[in-house]
């Protein structure tokens, strides 16, 4: 029987994701505590890149038990994340005008993707637990 599941990375790739996450957090700690003098803008970019790669690997790696229900929940979470991203961009300026009096939203693409990944993980794990 043909398998209609998404092609995901093997479960062990989660370790790679967690290691990258730890490296990113360590880097963040180094910058905050100023142990080593580094250019903040460059390290900020490297930090966000590492975090996003780690999140991507974690999002695209199989769970311990990956079955058709978890695959369905994954797709629902992806759709919810897409809607969140669109909502953020469309509704964001209106929220900004309420709080800052300006129609422009000051958010970096990195930050948007970061919150989108958090949204994805939140929706996926919430549905897995309670649905």
């Amino acid at each position: 029987m043909e398998n209609t599941h998404l092609k995901l990375l093997p479960h062990k790739f989660k370790i790679v994701g967690y290691v990258l996450l730890v490296i990113a957090i360590l880097l963040f700690g180094i910058v905050i505590t100023e142990i080593i003098s580094v250019e903040k803008e460059i390290t900020k970019n490297i930090f966000f890149d590492l975090i996003l790669i780690a999140f991507l690997i974690l999002a695209l790696s199989k769970g311990k038990i990956e079955d058709e229900r978890s695959m369905k929940l994954r797709l629902v979470a992806f759709a919810a994340t897409f809607l969140y991203g669109v909502g953020f961009i469309v509704i964001g300026p209106f929220v900004s005008i309420l709080f800052h009096g300006s129609f422009e939203i000051d958010i970096h693409a990195h930050q948007l993707l970061f919150t989108m990944f958090l949204w994805y993980f939140g929706v996926f794990y919430f549905m897995k637990k309670f649905n």
């Binding site: 029987m1 038990i65 079955d67 058709e68 229900r69 978890s70 369905k72 897995k128 649905n131």
Partner: protein, 66 residues
């Protein structure tokens, strides 16, 4: 769509974990199916039919709202 997975499982004296292992899914998936929160695929329905030694129609029944 309602189902009698819980009844059939009890007849076979199986736990959700046992059934999940036989089906190759997680225990949460079996739990969701039993509580009618998740409608399984045809493949999974056929596997259930094979395990419980009864037809798919005996396990799954359509409701008026379906």
């Amino acid at each position: 769509m309602k189902n009698s997975i819980k009844v059939e499982r009890a007849k076979k004296d199986m736990t959700q974990e046992d059934l999940a292992k036989l089906l190759g899914v997680s225990r949460q998936t079996v739990n969701s199916m039993e509580k009618n929160r998740y409608a399984p695929s045809t493949i999974l329905a056929l596997k259930l039919s094979e395990i419980f030694k009864c037809s798919v129609n005996e396990i799954f029944q359509l409701e008026e709202t379906d």
